[in-house]
């Protein structure tokens, strides 16, 4: 974790200098309040010796100065510290973003990680502002005070330092251990409580309708009682650190009094110094408190930052960004086989027509990039739909069911290339055991195939593989460059409708966007309207996401719909599908991942995984 902090300090301009400056200001602020009490005590006892008035001028001025400066130093320290911490947080967010952006997330089931990482990076603020800076400045002040007091009386200074170590390090450490133990006891109870609450919230109508609400409430009350008892047990350890610090402080004051008085009586020490020895530890109470708080925050922040560090140090999986096809120049009829970012895999067309599966797998292993190879136009004969090599393919759409003649598709007028061909494909996440073996599928222009299978079987992983975002584990994958993907949870960004649609194509004109929105039944949405995931209904969100695919250039030859009707009520689902079938027209091949029987019924082919 210290590694992460130093890394971030070097990542921002003058990071180390600003860190030192913030500590110095903290030392000045805390030091001022310690000095205020110490010098005041000196002033009083000195005055009691009735010297000339001039003798009090210096201590009196010092007292006024410390009284004024403390607040100003603290204010400056807070601003300096927060500015530093915000800089570090920004740097950390960018590193985390860079890392995640280069890792394929589609279908990776890292939803919890994504929601957590947002909160986790905020821990860096706490670590800087509430742990590192207070701990450093409190340590310097305690050490400095002990050194100064040692010039008066070594014994009481040693006791003070010892007490500071106990109060500032040992006590917080023990308290942290105790609170970890308490947390270990309450975390499972808390999770159990959350489970019952979630269940109750979702099934409330049924529970009430079937008269089971009292039984369920008893279940809730039981979970609650266990959590409450655990919370109450934990309450006893909460204040221990505060209590123990007071005891330790008492030891420091009593020691100063005993040693100091002895030195004064024996004449080794001037009388005013005794008051300084006794009063200074009192002023250190706040520093002790800072140390204890720092330890508490540290316990909480450590887990977060360890997760962030693990994330930053993990090896990337997949390619992250899907390579975008060249937008302005290419036309969908002749996509460039070596498009931006895609690996120019060396191959000769003959080996593809031979349906050799080994070659593509090898290519996938040697390159971070997916085996995304455009079938040459003369290979169409071999790519035509055939059930012969498709043991898992239940049914392939009959070629005559789809329009054959579409000049925008065919690279040569007399043939129609397969948009997608999977042969003995094995899919799985890199460095994980394969999920599925022997997937075979041929999809021509305009064909529709439903992909079905139990949840968790790897349907979205298949989509990620086809999209070229993770390499195939083995087997052959031939896909058109221009593929659109509509996720069931496609994100709606907190910006305007137009910007949300432009995710599909940053160069899309307003007219193109308006046309796309009309095709997905959203003509009533104003382009400039600010939207977010919360302000659109589930159906509307999916329609906006579909509009992104409609502005893609070149227009996708294949569109993958991933559970398009999931979590929508029946009416919205039916209406959405009506619009989607129409929007993607008769020439776009559709691969529809679904388990909705009504949707499956609209697809002539089915690939059951």
């Amino acid at each position: 974790m210290i590694g992460l902090v130093t890394r971030l300090l070097s990542a921002i301009p003058r990071g180390r200098a600003r860190f030192v400056a913030a500590i110095a200001l903290g030392v000045a602020a805390t030091g001022a309040s310690v000095a205020l009490l110490g010098v005041s005590a000196w002033l009083l006892t000195l005055a009691a010796e009735h010297p000339a008035v001039a003798a009090l001028t210096v201590p009196a001025t010092a007292v006024r100065m410390f009284g004024t400066s403390r607040g100003a130093f603290r204010y400056a320290e807070r601003l300096c510290g927060h500015d530093l911490a915000l800089n570090m947080q920004g740097a950390l967010r960018l590193s985390v973003y860079d890392k995640l952006a280069r890792t394929t997330l589609l279908g990776a089931r890292r939803g919890d990680l994504l929601t957590r990482v947002t909160a986790d990076v905020e821990a860096i603020m706490d670590v800087v502002v509430r742990v590192a800076l207070p701990f450093a400045s409190a340590s310097v002040v305690v050490l400095g005070t002990s050194l100064i007091l040692a010039t008066f009386d070594v014994a009481s200074a040693v006791v003070l330092l010892g007490c500071a170590v106990i109060a500032g390090i040992v006590v917080p450490w023990v308290a942290a251990r105790l609170s970890l133990r308490d947390d270990a006891a309450t975390v499972p109870l808390r999770a159990a409580m959350a489970d019952v609450v979630y269940e109750t919230a979702l099934a409330a109508p049924e529970l009430v309708a079937y008269g089971a609400s009292e039984t369920q409430f008893a279940k809730l009350a039981e979970a609650d009682a266990q959590l409450r008892r655990a919370d109450q047990r934990a309450a006893w350890t909460r204040g221990l650190a505060v209590g123990a610090q007071s005891v330790v402080m008492g030891m420091a004051v009593a020691a100063a009094l005993l040693f100091g008085a002895d030195a004064v009586v024996t004449g080794e020490l001037r009388a005013p110094a005794l008051a300084v020895l006794v009063f200074t530890p009192l002023a250190l109470a706040e520093s002790f408190d800072d140390l204890a708080k720092a330890a508490q925050v540290m316990t909480r922040a450590r887990a977060s930052l360890e997760r962030v560090t693990a994330l930053l140090d993990a090896a990337p999986v997949g390619v992250g960004d899907r390579a975008r096809t060249v937008t302005e120049t290419s036309d969908r009829g002749v996509p460039d086989s070596a498009t931006e970012g895609a690996a120019p895999v060396a191959h000769d067309p003959a080996s593809i027509t031979a349906l050799s599966s080994v070659r593509i797998a090898a290519a996938a292993e040697t390159s971070q990039h997916p085996a995304r190879i455009r079938p040459p136009s003369d290979s169409s004969a071999e790519c035509s739909p055939s059930a012969a090599h498709a043991p898992l393919l239940q049914h392939v759409a009959s070629p005559q069911a789809v329009p054959q003649e579409d000049s925008s598709y065919a690279t040569s007028p007399q043939t129609t290339a397969a948009v997608l061909a999977l042969r003995d494909l094995v899919i799985g996440w890199p460095d994980a055991p394969p999920l599925l073996h022997g997937i075979n599928l041929e999809l021509g222009p305009g064909e529709r195939v439903a992909v079905t299978g139990a949840s968790g079987v790897g349907k979205t992983t298949l989509a990620a593989t086809i999209l070229g975002m993770i390499p195939p584990a083995a087997g052959e994958l031939i896909a058109d460059d221009s593929i659109g993907y509509l996720a069931q949870d496609a994100h709606i960004f907190a910006t305007t409708v137009a910007e949300n649609v432009r995710i599909g194509n940053p160069w899309a004109t307003d007219d193109a966007i308006t046309a796309a929105l009309a095709r997905v039944g959203l003509s009533y949405l104003d382009l400039a309207r600010e939207v977010s995931a919360q302000t659109l209904s589930g159906g509307e969100a999916r329609r906006v996401a579909a509009a992104r695919l409609l502005v893609l250039r070149p227009a996708p030859a294949l569109v993958i719909l991933d559970e398009p009707t999931e979590h929508l009520d029946h009416e919205s689902a039916a209406a959405l599908m009506r619009d989607l079938w129409a929007a993607f027209g008769p020439t776009t091949a559709l691969l529809v991942i679904t388990h909705d029987a009504e949707v499956i019924a609209r697809c002539p082919g089915e690939l059951r995984l």
């Binding site: 205020l36 005041s40 005590a41 002033l43 005055a47 009691a48 009735h50 009090l56 007292v63 004024t68 403390r70 607040g71 204010y75 601003l79 915000l86 920004g90 967010r93 952006a101 589609l106 994504l114 929601t115 990482v117 409580m193 489970d195 269940e199 919230a201 099934a203 109508p205 049924e206 009430v208 089971a212 609650d224 409450r228 919370d231 309450a235 204040g239 221990l240 505060v242 007071s246 005891v247 008492g250 004051v253 009094l257 004064v264 009586v265 009388a271 006794v278 009192l282 960004d321 975008r324 975002m469 709606i492 960004f493 907190a494 995710i503 893609l552 009520d569 689902a573 029987a597 499956i600």
Partner: protein, 529 residues
């Protein structure tokens, strides 16, 4: 009350500690002897230990109180949720976070802020009076400066409030940009836009920092004034009594006593400021909980309007041939204007009635009125028998499929469960299949079949006379749908069904069209019933 006593005790211990230190140091100064020093040191240890004990007790007592309050709020929120099962105001996810992490903010409120607030009230008063008893001049300084602190705080709060609020809104939006991008990262990657979106993130991070610093420069001002007032007052007191000691108008013991007590007067007030965010978070958490509780009020209809008491009455109703369900001039209006108006229809025993109408017309609302989840604004809903209910997205309990079907009839045997599930079209679903969170482990279609089996069980064993079904065959293929429809018909009980499917509508004895209230012409909506 206990906390108030602890606060007073704390103040008294502070005074005792001050007296011990002042008298001993002054004694050594005057007598140059160690008389009583050891005993005073011993007593000091006792006083500090007592302060520690008190601090520990205060925290423990407050935390236990927080645990009680949290538990009470949790149960009230959940009681409210069960009282209003179709409430859409609080999503299940929100409810979970309100009830678990959300309420934890009350720990800070009860454990830190409230005890500190109490100390801020008791300690300055008691300590101020004690200072006054020994030295009136110092007490005057205290009495003048202490009230200045809250006055300055309020003034600063007033003048900066709008600025801070406006900046805070901008700041929150910028802060959320990162969360928004991270949530949408998979979407960006599919379009190959993740790397390019980084520039926007870098820009918004910079803007976020400068906006936040702008807010903090203002927000920290109040802390600055608080600290300045506290330390400056102590400095003022110290210098004043210093010169009075010099001129012999004040003895050293009193001066030292005042010097120990003075900072203790300001400390609790300053700590209230430090723990202020605990207070804000705690209030926010309590507000969220109260909002979830207030989303409730479903007046339970009077018995003469809703006769659902027992299925025995239902059987009587069946025998006498009266209606199992009757809607007479029923109106219900949502705050947004949607709802139903003057709806009248009835369902005879054994009759299958379909509710039809465009999307959003209020068909599901009618079912909620039948189930008593909502209470009609006007008109009468009469229910003559026990009801078996299948929602569009049926709620599932964690456990097994058997647990879920058994909800229909608690005492059903394994055989009866199996039978009900088979009839509902769930032949392939084993009873011991595990059901996780939100019905995980079952597909949407399977969940509907399990819910249908649940309802069938209630009809067969519980003698429910009315089946209420919301889109029971959505997502089923034609074969399974036909089987489900046949099962419903074979029951020979009354049924109220919302559906679009032709097969289901053909099964109905009659249809009740529900028209969309939002599309009604103005004059018509102006006519009073």
């Amino acid at each position: 009350m206990a906390a108030a006593v602890l606060g007073v005790l704390r103040a008294l211990l502070v005074l005792l500690q001050a007296a011990l230190i002042a008298d001993t140091v002054a004694g050594v100064f005057e007598t140059r002897s160690l008389d009583g020093v050891e005993r005073a040191a011993g007593w000091l240890l006792v006083v500090f230990a007592a302060r520690g004990l008190l601090g520990w007790l205060t925290t423990a007592v407050s935390q236990r109180a927080a645990a009680d309050v949290k538990s009470q709020l949790r149960l009230e929120v959940m009681r409210a949720r069960l009282g209003n099962p179709v409430s859409s105001r609080t999503s299940p996810g929100t409810l979970v976070s309100v009830v678990t992490q959300g309420l934890d903010a009350l720990d800070g409120y009860f454990g830190r802020f409230l005890p500190q607030l109490l100390l801020a009230v008791t300690v300055p008063v008691i300590a101020g009076v004690a200072v006054g008893l020994r030295d009136a001049t110092s007490a005057v300084i205290v009495a003048v400066t202490v009230p200045l602190i809250p006055v300055f705080m309020v003034l600063i709060g007033w003048t900066t409030e709008t600025r801070v609020k406006r900046r805070f809104a901008v700041q929150t939006r910028l802060a959320n940009h990162f969360a928004d991008l991270i949530s949408g990262l998979a979407t960006l990657q599919v379009f190959g836009r993740a790397i390019t979106a980084r520039q926007g993130l870098a820009r918004s991070e910079n803007a976020h920092r400068s906006e936040t610093m702008g807010t903090l420069r203002v927000a920290f001002l109040s802390a600055f004034v608080l600290e300045l007032a506290a330390t400056l007052s102590v400095a003022l007191i110290a210098v004043t009594i210093g010169f009075r000691v010099l001129y012999g108008s004040l003895d050293l013991a009193t001066a030292l006593y005042v010097l120990v007590v003075a900072p203790e007067v300001y400390l609790p007030i300053r700590m209230v400021g430090v723990h202020f965010h605990d207070s804000a978070n705690g209030s926010a958490a309590a507000d969220a909980a109260f909002a979830a509780i207030d989303a409730t009020p479903v007046p339970v209809p009077a018995p003469e309007e809703r006769d659902t008491e027992s299925h025995r009455e239902g059987l009587d109703a069946l025998r006498t041939g009266s209606r199992v369900l009757e809607f007479a001039e029923v109106s219900f209006c949502y705050p947004g204007g949607a709802g139903i108006r003057n709806l009248s229809f009835d369902v005879a025993p054994g009759e299958v009635v379909a509710l039809t109408g465009p999307s959003g017309a209020g068909k599901t609302t009618v079912l909620a009125l039948v189930m008593g989840f909502l209470a009609a604004d006007s008109g009468t809903v009469r229910v003559g028998c026990d009801i078996a209910y299948v929602a569009q997205e049926p709620g599932m309990l964690r456990g097994t499929v058997a647990d879920n079907v058994r909800l229909g009839w608690t005492n059903a045997t394994e055989t009866e469960l199996r039978q009900a599930l088979d009839v509902a079209g769930g032949v392939g679903i084993t009873l011991d299949r595990h059901v996780g969170d939100a019905g995980e482990g079952l597909s949407a279609g399977e969940r509907r079949r399990v819910a249908l089996a649940r309802a069938l069980l209630r009809v067969r064993l519980g003698s429910a006379g009315l089946l209420v079904l919301d889109e029971p065959t959505a997502g089923l293929d034609a074969d399974t749908e036909e089987q489900a429809v046949r099962a419903i018909r074979a029951l020979k009980v009354a049924a109220l069904i919302v559906s679009h499917r032709q097969a289901v509508l053909e099964l109905a004895d009659k249809s009740v069209p529900i028209c969309d209230l939002r599309n009604l012409a103005e004059p018509e909506s102006g006519v009073s019933p």
